[in-house]
């Protein structure tokens, strides 16, 4: 990685930046959530002890511009959230009642950000997937669409 200043060295040393060419992570897990109703709502993620015990490197949200359908609990498939609706949602990564980061879905979609990941580098124990949640902040009808979150972890 090219270090060009003390500031950049400090940012690297304190874990605030990483080179965009670096490997993202060695594993990934996908969490699919069916939007239960239309309009404003808050949707908690299901508990996930696997991810709670791993270092989460990055989170992505996928839309229908990447994959049209996703599996849902029960073994069937559903339509993936439309790219046009992405501005109506944000995601809060949390543990207990402390919100670690609050981020619009748009930031976590690589297609809309020239392929760049949304890095968190959250250590095991610093986060809890079941405490994290999605907010629908605009009153459009996205009922029964599937939100696909992909967690990259080591």
């Amino acid at each position: 990685m090219g270090i060009i200043s003390n500031t950049e060295a400090y940012m690297v040393a304190t874990g605030k930046v990483r080179d965009y060419t670096e490997t993202v992570a060695n594993n990934c897990e996908t969490v699919n959530i069916v939007i239960p109703k239309s309009g404003l709502q808050k949707i908690y993620l299901p508990q996930n002890s696997l991810l709670d015990s791993k270092k989460i490197r990055a989170i992505e949200v996928l839309t229908d511009s990447q994959v049209l359908r996703a599996t849902i609990p029960g073994g069937t498939v559903g339509d993936v959230l439309e790219s046009l609706a992405i501005s109506a949602f944000d995601f809060t990564f949390a543990k207990d009642s402390e919100n670690i980061s609050n981020t619009p879905f748009h930031c976590m979609n690589r297609v809309l950000n020239s392929g760049k990941f949304y890095f968190l580098d959250s250590e095991p124990g610093d986060h809890r997937i079941g405490d994290s949640f999605i907010n629908q902040i605009a009153a459009l009808d996205a009922k029964n669409f599937v939100i696909v979150l992909r967690f990259w972890y080591d």
Binding site: M1, T7, E8, Y10, M11, V12, T14, G15, K16, V17, R18, D19, Y20, L40, S87, A88, D90, N99, I100, S101, N102, T103, P104, H106, C107, R110, L112, N113, S114, G115, K116, F117, Y118, F119, L120, D121, N135, I137, A138
Partner: protein, 138 residues
């Protein structure tokens, strides 16, 4: 180029009140847990309605076309304007190849930071400029 790693982030806003006109300034809204000179800011990102259609309180986010008339100034805890009138659109991540604007980490004074309108375009009373602050707590 480097990607940001998010330590902590929170959405912050500046609300346009009254009739928007050129040279008017609007300070950032108070967020009690961020506005005690207690955060070291190292990255900032702005949103238009294209990225985030509403704020968490249901207010309108400024439209992409209106953001061309807005600049942003950030002040540190010494009241120095260390980022002075950077165009709002320059802070939108998707306008920068997906990179978040990185800053030398600084203690900031949230409620002294402000947006300034250089051209009101179709901005309206109640519209909000919305940012994500990437920070460490002191």
């Amino acid at each position: 180029m480097n990607n940001i790693i998010v330590k902590q982030s929170q959405t912050v806003t500046a609300t346009i009140t009254g009739t928007p006109s050129a040279n008017r300034k609007y300070k950032f809204d108070d967020i009690p847990n961020l506005s005690r000179n207690n955060i070291v800011l190292y990255g900032i990102e702005a949103f238009t309605a294209s990225q985030l259609s509403k704020t968490s309180d249901g207010s309108d986010v400024i439209a992409a076309v209106d953001s061309l008339g807005v600049t942003v100034t950030l002040k540190d805890n010494q009241n120095v304007e260390f980022i002075y009138q950077i165009p709002y659109t320059d802070l939108v991540r998707s306008n920068n190849g997906g990179f978040v604007i990185l800053l030398e980490p600084k203690l900031i004074n949230l409620t002294d930071c402000y947006i300034q309108i250089n051209d009101a375009l179709s901005l309206a009373d109640g519209d909000k400029a919305v940012f994500n602050f990437y920070y460490d707590l002191v």
